[in-house]
């Protein structure tokens, strides 16, 4: 059980970071399917820089920069060239899959994986018993995640900046009439997403084994987007959804570690994806019902 809780916490950190990042873009009206690609590119950049410089700070900074540059390209294609958000997002993901493998080969002469000599520090590493053992594997990013979630909450709900993002995505005409420069706000929202995705990628690569392997994200970027939708685009609810999906992932980890094999392994690896489908469906039902109630209420007020 302790193993399961510890594994859930560890699995949910990248999902929470990327999920809370994702909700900025979705709030601004962009259905962001490039998160998987941003995470992958950041994870690779972080390990590549850490491998070359042995500096964890430079690694994190480089990951943030790469993620921001890719996000700016995404934004430019959407806002200035009127491209389709979904196809560009999937294209960005494919580009990252190819690009990371390509540069892994060309720069480092490696196929498949690259190890980093340094990893993210773990504040209370080595605690063996009691409650501390549950979190001893958590990296510094894991400890910072609740703070970042709270900060996102404050940013979205208590600042003009956050309200502008929501306004742009909710009612574009109204936002424009109010004098908001939509394009800039969308860029800002996507940069917020890029920060979340970059940190998620760094955590995946350097939070545990300190290694990058091809396809290390394994669909987590898409699950993070689903977590944002499941959390109704609310930062705290999104973080809760991330923990829920993290638990689904932990089932796979724990069964593998304990070599429980009464069910073939592929079926266990399916669990997070099936749970995601169920969660998206449940949140759609809830939303439709809330919508209907609201419409009824509005109808009742009309003369």
């Amino acid at each position: 059980m302790e193993e399961f809780i510890a594994s859930t916490l560890r699995s949910s950190v990248p999902l929470a970071l990327a999920g809370v990042g994702a909700l900025f873009a979705v709030r601004a009206g962009i259905f962001h399917l490039g998160i998987e690609g941003l995470m992958l590119a950041s994870a690779f950049t972080a390990v590549g820089v850490a491998h070359s410089t042995e500096s964890i700070i430079l690694a994190v900074l480089a990951a943030l920069v790469v993620s921001a540059v890719l996000s700016t390209i995404y934004w430019f294609l959407l806002d200035h060239l009127h491209a389709d958000a979904i196809i560009v997002g999937l294209g960005l993901t494919t580009l990252s899959v190819g690009g990371t493998a390509f540069f892994l080969d060309v720069i480092f002469g490696q196929r498949g994986r690259l190890d980093s000599p340094v990893g993210l520090p773990r504040p209370i590493r080595g605690a063996d018993d009691g409650a501390a053992s549950l979190v001893s594997e958590l990296s510094i990013l894991g400890w910072l995640t609740p703070l970042l979630v709270l900060a996102s909450f404050m940013l979205l709900r208590r600042t003009a900046f956050g309200l502008r993002i929501t306004a742009v995505g909710t009612y574009s005409y109204g936002a424009r009439a109010a004098g908001i420069r939509e394009s800039r706000v969308r860029l800002a929202a996507m940069l917020c997403t890029s920060v979340g995705s970059a940190l998620a990628g760094v955590e995946l690569a350097l939070g545990g084994l300190s290694t990058f392997s091809e396809g290390i994200t394994g669909g987590r970027g898409f699950i993070a987007l689903a977590a944002a939708l499941f959390g109704q685009l609310h930062p705290l609810a999104t973080a809760a959804a991330a923990v829920f999906f993290g638990a689904a992932n932990a089932i796979g980890v724990v069964t593998q570690v304990n070599s429980i094999d009464f069910v073939p392994r592929p079926f266990i690896l399916m669990i997070p994806f099936i749970i995601t489908i169920a969660a998206v469906t449940v949140s759609a039902i809830v939303r439709t019902q809330a919508q209907q109630r609201r419409m009824e209420r509005l109808d009742a007020h009309e003369p």
Partner: protein, 372 residues
């Protein structure tokens, strides 16, 4: 005709730019752009078996692409073709290896089962979307991952090839006498089947009641509902058609060039087919033309590592760049349905309701629009 030529050029411009960017990258990282370029020309036109390979890859791209075009026309972003294709090929290989029937019947049942399996896999997302409002982009994507694990299970468990080696697990190979096509040839049967599907798709989209309904619903679901069209029924049909065609492709691959089902190493046909349908402006003729173009590209892409020392991942870069740029011009057709800033003043927004409710509105706008 000139008009068509102009359209063709605007469609292909992003592809050319994507290639140029990729070449710059390859040249900058020390690969000879010349040898890469000549490799592509050889792979598409002049090399040994080039035309055969072009046709070989065009067939699945056209078949899957036509299904995706039907979906996108109705405004349904069904991006689960890869999963539907995999499930279809599993059904086909299972029938081919485990059923004991004379060859024609075996092929017949394998095709029927593959089509049904693909259609049902797609219908999972369809039912969740049409009746419950679950976002089809997420569900179809997730179903792809589930299908990949299913293939993993089948290829390492029930139908495992005991003699396979290397990283990728594989099912047993089909007996050569069962296949309609070896790996270095093309078969008349598959080409005729593809032509039949193209004709069927054309008459469906351009000359049938369902085609008109699809078109109307994609353009304006509310107006279509007022016309008395069954929105949900039509949308569900597009899921069945897209999934059925992807499943059929699974069968053609198993009985044709692939001869087995392998984990991992298959090129992402479903994703390329999405690009094919988009480049083809969701029209039948356009999709076929784009399918031939990307079929050639796929042939060249698989030929490249043979003639130059470019790692295979470089080819994924080309694919990604093409997808990144391809919609930069033709946005209108797609964005009409997916637009996130569609200026729909809604009565839910006219009152002084809190921002949070506005968000709910953004999330549910699409599903509400589409179901009327």
């Amino acid at each position: 005709m000139n008009q068509h030529l102009a359209r063709l050029i605007t469609r292909l411009a992003p592809v050319v730019i994507a290639f140029a960017l990729a070449f710059v990258l390859f040249a900058a990282t020390g690969f000879s752009a010349g040898s890469v370029a000549s490799g592509i020309v050889e792979g598409v036109f002049t090399g040994r078996g080039a035309t055969t390979n072009t046709i070989r890859w065009s067939i699945p791209l056209i078949l899957i692409g036509l299904g995706i075009a039907v979906s996108l026309r109705a405004g349904e972003f069904n991006i689960g073709a890869q999963g539907q294709f995999l499930v279809g090929s599993l059904a086909a290989i299972w029938v081919a290896l485990k059923w004991d029937l004379p060859k024609p019947w075996l092929i017949f049942f394998a095709i029927v089962l593959a089509v049904v399996a693909g259609a049902l896999w797609s219908a999972i997302a369809g039912v969740l979307k049409v009746y419950l409002g679950a976002d089809e982009v997420i569900t179809t994507l997730m179903l792809n991952f589930v299908a990949i694990q299913l293939v993993q299970w089948v290829a390492t468990g029930p139908l495992r090839d005991p003699f396979s080696s290397g990283d990728a697990a594989s099912t047993e190979r089909l007996d050569p006498s069962m296949r309609v096509q070896g790996s270095g040839e093309y078969s008349l049967e598959l080409i005729l089947l593809t032509i039949a599907v193209i004709v069927a798709a054309w008459s469906l989209l351009e000359r049938s009641r369902l085609g008109i309904a699809v078109q109307l619903i994609g353009a304006n679901p509310k107006a279509a509902a007022w016309q008395g069209l069954s929105i949900r029924g039509t949308q569900l049909h597009t899921y069945l058609i897209a999934g059925g065609l992807a499943g059929l492709t699974g069968a053609t691959e198993v009985f044709g060039p692939a001869g087995r089902v392998v984990t991992g190493s298959t090129p992402a046909l479903g994703f390329t087919a999405l690009v094919v349908a988009t480049v083809g402006s969701l029209a039948v003729v356009g999709t076929v033309a784009a399918g031939l173009f990307f079929g050639g590209l796929q042939a060249a892409i698989l030929y490249l590592p043979i003639v130059s020392d470019l790692p295979p991942s470089g080819l994924r870069i080309i694919e990604g760049l093409v997808a990144l740029l391809i919609t930069a011009q033709l946005a209108t057709a797609l964005r009409r349905r997916r637009s996130t800033q569609s200026p729909l003043p809604d009565k839910a927004l006219n009152g002084n309701q809190p921002i949070e409710e506005g968000i709910q509105h953004v999330l549910s706008r699409r599903s509400r629009d589409e179901t009327g």
